[in-house]
Symmetry: C2
Subunit: 444 residues, 2 copies
């Protein structure tokens, strides 16, 4: 019993906080690989990395935050400073662009991959420390709608880099929804309607109608909303259908025009057919978008919800500067996505180290191993030497557990013959090779 008590105490001290992700080596290697691929994809489109501070002045963060977000902020004092941890990467971007406006060139194309903090109620799939991978294009005064199409292309390419290209990017335009609500004098309750629309896939038609009626919406208008939501089909037919509604509201018509243009532009990017689909129920209700909105689903895992969302905003930094800075962007919630992929066995853990090869010495003099390691490293082959003086079997066990693909064995024979015994740990095949062939095999 004593040892169990001791274990509990130890657990209390060293266990990671609830809502914080802590990975084991093989998981971490895969997570780093995801980060690297997202970075490569964003840079493939010529974006600039930006790494703002995790701690910000509370006054600056709260100038743009609001509602639920504010309650979730980690806020504290240190000395005279009222500080907060960033809860997203967009507010710091807005502050940065306002601060460095005269030093930046526009359109400002930036990406950011970093941790943000939200004191949410810990529950499966919700994290208090989470990586976001954001990409945004900020214009000065104006920004072409081609950028909205480019974001579609970036989202697709990035998931292609991640070997998760079986996705659907659902697109809509806020102006279409806002215009529709304006047309029927529903603007004041639009948030409530959107909340019901968000549930459309989870509730019956009867429940849907009942909820709308509970907002005191007249029967004929409820039917209009129903008809509107029911508009399905390929993108062209949805656009055609929207136009046929004969709604004359200017916002609505501008929204249709913007959506059509974005879809047209997207055809010039290499996005396969059927990846981008108009969905009039996409609203990103609680965000600050003013035009295009996106959500992304993995077709094999619709239960994950949106794995990459974003949209267009008319004015990024209005709370910091009088400059008008329209932008468009998207964000991958990497920590949550990775956690879901792991839990659904959708990704396979591989190596538990970065080594391509481990050198194992059968002789006491380890200098041969160290010299070979230097040569392999010079050839960009990630190499480690098993440096501890233990039995051969234990060294092999280590290589096996970490799933290192190759081991090189250096014994007396090998030293005398000036060769190296290379064992492929996957096939079990062992060969004697000279240095040149060894390097060649390991580089392939």
């Amino acid at each position: 019993m004593l040892s169990e008590n001791k274990k509990i105490n130890k657990d209390n001290l060293t266990k990671v906080l609830p809502g914080f992700m802590e990975l084991l080596p093989a998981e971490q290697i895969l997570f780093e690989d995801f980060k690297t691929k997202i970075k490569s994809s964003y840079e493939n489109f010529g974006f600039i990395p930006l790494d703002t501070t995790v701690i910000e002045k509370s006054e600056a963060l709260l100038a743009k935050a609001g509602g639920e977000t504010e309650k979730q902020i980690y806020r504290f004092n240190k000395g005279d400073n009222d500080l907060s941890l960033r809860f997203d990467l967009t507010v710091p971007l807005a502050r940065y662009v306002a601060e460095h406006f005269n030093e930046l060139d526009f359109p400002f194309r930036r990406y950011a991959i970093g941790k943000v903090y939200r004191a949410e109620k810990p529950q499966r799939g919700r994290f208090r420390e989470l990586y976001q991978c954001d990409i945004d294009i900020i214009g000065k005064d104006s920004l072409s709608l081609v950028n909205d199409a480019e974001i579609l292309s970036i989202i697709y390419s990035t998931f292609e880099f991640l070997s998760l290209k079986d996705i659907t990017i659902r697109i809509n335009n806020r102006k279409i929804l806002n215009g529709f609500f304006e047309e029927y004098n529903l603007s004041k309750i639009s948030v409530d309607i959107l909340r019901i629309i968000d549930k459309i896939e989870k509730i019956t038609k009867e429940e849907f109608v009942k909820e709308l009626e509970s907002l005191k919406i007249k029967k004929d208008i409820v039917n209009k909303i129903l008809d509107f939501i029911k508009i399905k089909g390929d993108n062209d037919s949805i656009i055609k259908n929207l136009k046929s509604l004969k709604i004359k509201n200017e916002t609505f018509l501008l929204g249709i025009d913007e959506l059509s243009k974005v879809l047209d532009y997207s055809k010039s990017f290499n996005i396969p057919k059927n990846v981008v689909g108009v969905d009039l129920s996409i609203a990103r209700g609680l965000d600050y978008y003013t035009g295009t909105v996106y959500e992304t689903k993995l077709n094999k895992y619709p239960q994950f919800g949106s794995v990459c969302s974003g949209g267009r905003y008319d004015d990024l930094a209005g709370c910091y500067t009088s400059q008008k800075l329209p932008g468009v962007g998207a964000s991958i919630g990497l920590t949550r996505l990775f956690d879901q992929l792991l839990n659904n066995n959708a990704i396979e853990l591989k190596q538990a180290t970065t080594s391509k090869v481990v050198i194992v010495s059968m002789v006491d003099d380890i200098s041969h191993s160290l010299e070979l390691a230097s040569k392999l490293r010079e050839n960009n082959i990630n190499t480690e030497v098993y440096l501890e003086d233990v039995k051969f079997k234990k060294k092999l066990e280590y290589a096996n557990k970490l799933k290192i693909p190759y081991i090189v064995i250096i014994g007396e024979d090998e030293i005398n013959e000036k060769v190296f015994a290379l064992k492929n740990m996957n096939t079990g095949v062992q060969k004697k090779l000279n240095l040149k062939d060894l390097i060649k095999t390991l580089k392939d």
Copy 2:
């Protein structure tokens, strides 16, 4: 006057906190390049990335922290939790290894590149949010001294990756100092003596003697310390000299033996002669090292102080577990190093974006540009299209300001001839190329 006041208010809100580094695009690109190179170098030696949480339980962090560090911790409550931001990467490593001991394989070779937080008095070169790049090897029960030599090799290789290979790694062994102080019954005031020794390069011999005498050390012992500190020369002669002191203290002799072995092993790694130099005044006084200690200087910029320090510790996680976990490691203070290099014009700012090429359309129909961009991106060429509808001159200005190496111009002629006009922005040379040659040129 009004506008000046307005500016001040804006500055107050959007200016980054004192002691926090915020970079402009060209600087950030270079900083990311440093991080990538350090990561590549650490992985070249087969280390495992580890990314622990920035927020830890205060109880866990403080179990291993102490003294000055404790005062500098960002500590706060959220709900029932007493939380702190990590102030280094070693304490989280210790907690992690204790927590996951049964799931890890030893020797556990991990690196970590991440932000840590210290509420130091803001002053030039001191940061409150700073990147540390740590690499450590943790053994179970024991760890061979070859590892101490490998860390020397990793330090050298990493600075070589950073094109800063003109370094001196100064090495010492704590046991030599501790043994020497034991021999002369100075153990109780060893910290004070070390503090004076640390100043040896900055004060005169007379001041040095005076300060030692103020500790009530007898004249003949002061001379012994002086002689000890004055031991200079190549590594072999210093070792010889130390042995000739005829000190019989066991700790002292063990220290000499360890230092000799580490130096011997280091000869099998590809570290050029004169990079590693024994320096008996290196102590890393406030750290928890128990054997080998390192400091690294850039030979061209000795005023930077140590840019990479580390050493061996007998027991990493004694405060968390009864397992004995000896280790050895080193850490690069990247934020400080980068800041010093920038301020001394020791690194040259290059591009302000990741784009290799920007495509500029002379025609209204941008689809040709977008299609070319997709083809270049598929070939791993970082590409952007200037998407805004502005004058050609303005597009060129953008490419120039961001120092994008190439632009591709697409006009009516090019579209008709099925070629692309490629302009090298460094040489000013412009050529018409077909797609294949364009890709080839841009890939080179």
